[in-house]
């Protein structure tokens, strides 16, 4: 079975490609946009092709001989531009003749940044452009897929991914380095998080299985934030991140829930906050102005206008403002996301903890810069040989 991973150079794509490549019945192929993102995969010996999936003729060449396409590409751009690019990828994918099954990565952000009681699996209520765009892309894909060669489409609402090279783990390690952050509710709640190896395990199950539909994708069974944080800190031999007491946690959650409840209220609050932050000389650097403009740009759906406004008026004037809350990360206060999760067998082992420790050591310790340790091996195990004059 030929399987293409679109976005193979990304955070998840590489692990996914490695897992699928190890499957005896699968011939896995990575698809990257350019040679630089393809390079780490090529060096590691994977089958990689470069091209623009958003161009139908190129997509046909890259994917036409595959049975399954896994789309884990995600645009890196301002919201309007990202939306345009991601729709372009979907347009390219649905135009391909040949593949029968499409597995598309969406995000748990479709339920909101701080998942509360008001959002449902069938009717998610995103509260920020990123989540709204992911949900709109799901809907766009379903519409377009009706007239495509894909007989089955699986949409995965991906949880927060941790593991080597993943942002959640990086966040945990950053808190270890800069003590002060507290884990809301001492991490007792469901995390909606998933280790990157489990992502790969779940996708493998889906690739080899049949049927379509929309699923959440979290650790199986669901991990608490305490488990996720402790897994990471113990991997590097650090002390657990302390918990935030329940009263303060409730206060922070109430703040995020209020915002999530009504986008119009959010906008109004931001405008009001903007007014309070006058004089205008200060307004240019206010977070509220930025949020307000980004929301407006998102509504107008004009990438060109967005780029113009951002570059001209915002990009150079952003300033970080201290948050009045103990925790700035709404995802850390979410409740369990509603709906079914993919049924898969987790594949986490002790080696994964060692991998995350190696990664952490590599980027955080200057001693790791000392070159030419005996038999140094690169990330994929390919030996590097020294040059001599």
């Amino acid at each position: 079975m030929r399987v293409a991973v679109v976005g193979a150079g990304g955070h998840i794509g590489r692990t996914l490609l490695a897992r699928l490549s190890s499957e005896p019945l699968v011939a896995a192929r990575g698809i990257c946009r350019n040679e630089l993102t393809a390079a780490p995969l090529r060096v590691a010996g994977f089958d990689v092709r470069c091209g623009a999936v958003s161009v139908p003729s190129e997509a046909q060449k890259l994917l036409g001989d595959c049975e399954v396409v896994v789309n884990c590409a995600s645009a890196t751009a301002l919201p309007g531009t990202a939306r345009h690019e991601e729709r372009g990828i979907v347009d390219g994918l649905v135009a391909v003749r040949g593949p029968r099954r499409l597995i598309h990565f969406s995000s748990v952000a479709v339920y909101g940044t701080c998942i509360g009681d008001g959002t449902r699996f069938e009717h998610p209520r995103p509260d920020y452009p990123f989540g709204r765009d992911k949900l709109n892309l799901e809907r766009y894909l379903r519409r377009k897929a009706r007239s495509s060669s894909f007989a089955e489409v699986v949409v995965l609402r991906m949880g927060h991914v941790y593991g080597a090279e993943q942002w959640v783990s990086r966040f945990v390690f950053d808190q270890v380095e800069r003590p002060g952050w507290r884990l809301p509710f001492d991490g007792r709640g469901a995390s909606n998080a998933i280790h990157v190896k489990n992502v790969a395990a779940a996708v493998r199950t889906l690739v080899l299985g049949t049927g379509g539909g929309t699923f959440n994708l979290f650790d199986s069974p669901q991990s608490t934030w305490r488990q996720v944080f402790d897994w990471n800190t113990s991997a590097i031999g650090a002390a657990p991140v302390p918990g935030l007491d329940d009263a303060e946690s409730e206060r922070v959650r109430a703040h995020f829930s209020r915002i999530a409840r009504a986008p119009a209220l959010q906008l109004a609050r931001e405008v009001a906050a903007w007014g309070k932050s006058l004089p205008l000389s200060l307004a240019a650097s206010s977070q509220q102005v930025r949020n307000c403009v980004l929301s407006l740009m998102s509504t107008l759906q004009s990438p060109r206008l967005e780029a113009r406004v951002y570059k001209r008026y915002i990009g150079g004037h952003l300033a970080a403002r201290p948050a009045p809350l103990a925790v700035e990360q709404p995802w850390a206060l979410s409740r369990e996301a509603p709906g079914p999760c993919v049924d898969y067998s987790p594949e986490l082992t002790a080696e994964d903890a060692r991998a995350v420790a190696r990664w952490h050591d590599g980027y955080s310790s200057p001693d790791a810069l000392a070159p030419f340790p005996a038999q140094r091996r690169d990330v994929a195990g390919a030996a590097m040989r020294p040059a001599s004059q």
Binding site: G316, A320, A387
Partner: protein
């Protein structure tokens, strides 16, 4: 702007990400600069930028561009040589984005062209103007930590979401030269500047290739500092793996850690690495004041016709020798295609 401030008519060569994301947003804040035209073979990109930044003229070819005092050369290294020839012929001063040149011979050729025509050449090694770099230089110049024992410099991460298509110059060995050119030029220049390196001798270099594209370099050199001390300097730049980002200067009494990120702090550490004091980095966005300072310096030199700007010849020489050492020992370089 005061009445006595110099007025520099500026042309932009290249409408890529360097011009769009770095230089153009700050050029509006630089006194005495008037944007006259933008030239790029892909005129659609140039037109878009011209609209946003109010640049009056867009051209596909330099031959059609009007007279200016100075230009920004924001094109990839691989296509730069004929552009430099034209610039010299037209008598324009130039701010050349890093990396300045592909090798020492090209670098010296550019300097010679400029010298013959009394032109000012600047280089876009913006990290020289980071507040963190300035602070680190002062600490090293004051010898607060005692004699230097070792220098470690690293930067890079696995190439992931680039947001760029197949035409991105950094994916082309011909256009970009590889990670040592793209990232290493900043890092090496910064380390040389902070430590006051005057000479070096490369001892060892290993590189990793993907096709013809260099994606990782690790090197060991012996550098000579101002007082004649020779100390080891280890460099690692990578697109294959996440590595430590910054410069660590290990001295007799402790070590100085200078981040690659201008917004992070410069840390003074005990000999074991424990942080004992931090000097804060610049507020976000940290690169903006550095870019403004870089342009102000260039404009001031152009106004005075002062061609004394350091274009980083030693850095070019270091990079060239790294590539040469790796190339000349062919079995050592793993080429995958």
């Amino acid at each position: 702007m005061g009445a006595s401030a110099p007025q520099i008519r500026l042309g932009l060569i290249g409408a890529g990400s360097v011009a769009a994301n770095y230089h153009l947003p700050v050029l509006q804040s630089v006194s005495g600069v008037r944007l006259q035209w933008i030239a790029d073979p892909v005129t659609s990109k140039a037109r878009e930028l011209a609209k946003v930044y109010g640049i009056p003229q867009v051209e596909a070819s330099l031959a059609d561009c009007g007279e200016v005092d100075a230009v920004l050369v924001g094109t990839p290294l691989g296509v730069r040589k004929p552009i430099i020839e034209t610039i010299a012929e037209r008598g324009w001063h130039a701010m050349v984005e890093k990396p300045f040149a592909a090798n020492t011979a090209d670098h010296e050729w550019m300097l010679e062209l400029a010298r013959k025509r009394s032109l000012v050449l600047g280089v876009g090694l913006v990290r020289r103007h980071y507040e963190t770099t300035r602070r680190a230089r002062k600490i090293m110049a004051a010898e607060l930590l005692g004699p230097v024992h070792e220098i470690l410099a690293g930067e890079g991460m696995r190439a992931r979401k680039s947001g760029r298509g197949g035409d991105w110059y950094q994916g082309s060995a011909d256009a970009s030269g590889g990670v040592l050119f793209e990232t290493g030029s900043h890092l090496i220049d910064m380390a040389f500047l902070i430590c006051g390196v005057e000479a070096f001798e490369l001892e060892h270099c290993e590189q990793q290739l993907s096709g013809a594209l260099e994606v990782e370099t690790r090197a060991l050199a012996w550098v000579t500092l101002k007082k004649g001390e020779r100390v080891p300097m280890r460099i690692a730049v990578s697109r294959l793996a996440d590595v430590y980002n910054g410069i660590v200067i290990r001295c007799q009494n402790g070590e100085l850690r200078v981040p690659a990120d201008p917004e992070r702090s410069v840390d003074l550490c005990a000999r074991g690495g424990e942080v004992v004091g931090s000097l804060p980095g610049a507020p976000k966005p940290g690169m903006t004041p550095a870019l403004v300072a870089e342009w102000n310096e260039f404009v001031a030199h152009v106004a005075r016709r002062d061609a004394s700007l350091d274009t980083g010849l030693l850095t070019t020489s270091f990079i060239e020798k790294c590539y040469r050492m790796a190339r000349d020992s062919k079995p050592a370089r793993r080429g995958l295609s």
